[in-house]
Amino acid sequence: MIRSYRAELLRSTSRGTTWFLAFCFALMVFSMSNAGPQHQSPLWGFRQAGIVVATLLMGRAATAAAGDFSSGTIRAWLISVPSRLRLGLGKLAASASIAAGFAVLAGAAGYAVSGLFGRMPGVGDMAAATAELLGACVILSVFGHATGLLTRSVPAALTVSLAWILAAEHVLEGRFAHSTQWLPGLVTQRLTQHKLTVEALPGALAHALLPFVLLDGLALLLFVRRDVTS
């Protein structure tokens, strides 16, 4: 699994990925710069951009998982690594690591530039915001990876994942009370916006992560058993 993990990380270090992550960071900086006119702090702007960036990283994970089937590169990977479970877990871990790594870098860089847009946040506050962003990015990357592996098609994976996070959960939010406490996307959004108390955090993370972990488990099981015709 370690080999698959390292190979996926190496594969992901392309110019395209670098530009994409730079774009995500640019969005965060824009949000931080936009805080002033709204009489808010750069930290507030950082947090507002969190769910957007986490959603984009979800799309990246979905594309990475499904793209191998669309392009046919999954054939070469499976021939090189006969254990599909190890391969799938390695790729999942890599997607999550890229999301986590981005969050840490974005937090550090965001702290460095925040002084340009207003009062610099405290280190502790920024660290908390970074940890929340990290959690959100990892949670949604797990979901993106699952949709990619299940659908084996980049358009389908993006459609399913974005439709769920951007539309379906918000429709359900309007219909069911307390949906923000148990729908994973909405919980993740509250996480990035610092709306969860410390006491509620473990339960909230479980609500957010568990459904996606189970979905990924199902995706991995099907990946192990289904024929690859790409």
Binding site: A7, L10, S71, G72, T73, R75, I79, S80, D227
Partner: protein, 301 residues
């Protein structure tokens, strides 16, 4: 019969897609150090068989046994079009798969050299020609010197020069002890390269043996001094129970149970009794395509 000590052994392998039996009870193993041509019509089951061997598909019945324990990679393959990361350089594609297969830097360099891609290592795969992409895919497949190498239609979309390079590469890899299996429609490209031939038809193995023996004799061609004598000789041969088809280039008699030499002596004797002078009596060798179609036609009937 497959060699149980072979690195890869297929035992009674079958695969169906709905009501279509794509591979039917195939028992087979590629032979180390030899190039096997896996041939068959479209839909014969060649690609399906390769996907079953590589684990891309699960068999409905039977098993693929892959021997482990050697330093070398037991099995590698290049299935259909080259599957490369086009945004990455050749070097990075090799490094990714070196990580996956556990190949060392030396083994990676060896594979790159064998596939003749050392001079394009720093080029993005997306900028390479089809021929070089094929070579890059070959380099990935050659990492850690596999014991069995499956190549599914490797010459597709390649120009004649690239095909010649690929043929040389295939031969070199086989000479290093690898069992190379090449699936192709282009039978002529394998002439002079393949040692063995496995013919698939409707998912079943119709022939599995030496390439040269597959072609086999196609009977005799006989010519007399003139057309009238040839026609008379043909009639005499038919009267003697020999099949004799008159063609523009003489009389053709197909193989029969007696053997070519005995048939030739019979024809000599018949011509001598009738006072007919023969100017040619030669063995016919069918083309590979003729042999192929003959076997397929026989299977269909």
């Amino acid at each position: 019969m497959p060699n149980s000590n072979a690195p890869v052994v297929l035992s009674d392998l079958s695969k169906s897609f709905g009501s279509t039996r794509a591979v039917s009870s195939v028992t087979w193993s590629p032979k180390p150090g030899r190039v096997t041509a896996l041939v068959g019509l479209n839909g014969a089951g060649k690609s399906t068989l390769m996907r079953l061997v590589t684990g891309l598909m699960r068999p409905g019945q039977g098993a693929v046994r892959i021997a482990t324990g050697s330093d070398r990679r037991p099995l590698s393959a290049m299935i259909e079009a080259p599957a490369l990361h086009t945004a990455l350089t050749v070097r990075r594609n090799l490094r990714v798969h070196a990580l996956l297969t556990g190949a060392t830097a030396a083994e990676t360099a060896e594979a790159a050299e064998l596939a003749q891609v050392t001079h394009v290592l720093d080029r993005r795969v997306g900028t390479l020609s089809q021929g070089y992409r094929q070579r890059t895919a070959m380099a990935l497949a050659l990492l850690r010197r596999p014991e069995v190498l499956l190549l599914d239609e490797p010459t597709n979309a390649l120009d004649p020069q690239a095909i010649a390079v690929l043929r040389t590469m295939i031969r070199e890899v086989a000479d290093q002890g690898c069992a190379v299996v090449v699936s192709t429609h282009q039978l002529r490209e394998l002439d002079g390269v393949a040692d063995d031939l496995t013919l698939l038809h409707s998912g079943q193995v119709l022939y599995d043996g030496p390439f040269d023996a597959f072609v086999g004799p196609a009977g005799l061609r006989i010519r007399a001094a003139d057309q009238a004598a040839t026609t008379r000789l043909a009639a005499l041969m038919r009267a003697d129970g020999l099949a004799a088809e008159q063609a523009p280039d003489g009389i053709r008699t197909p193989p029969n149970g007696r053997g070519a030499d005995a048939t030739a002596q019979h024809v000599f004797a018949t011509a001598a009794r009738a006072g007919i002078e023969l100017v040619e009596l030669s063995h016919l060798t069918p083309t590979l395509e003729e042999a192929f179609h003959s076997v397929i036609s026989g299977a269909r009937s």
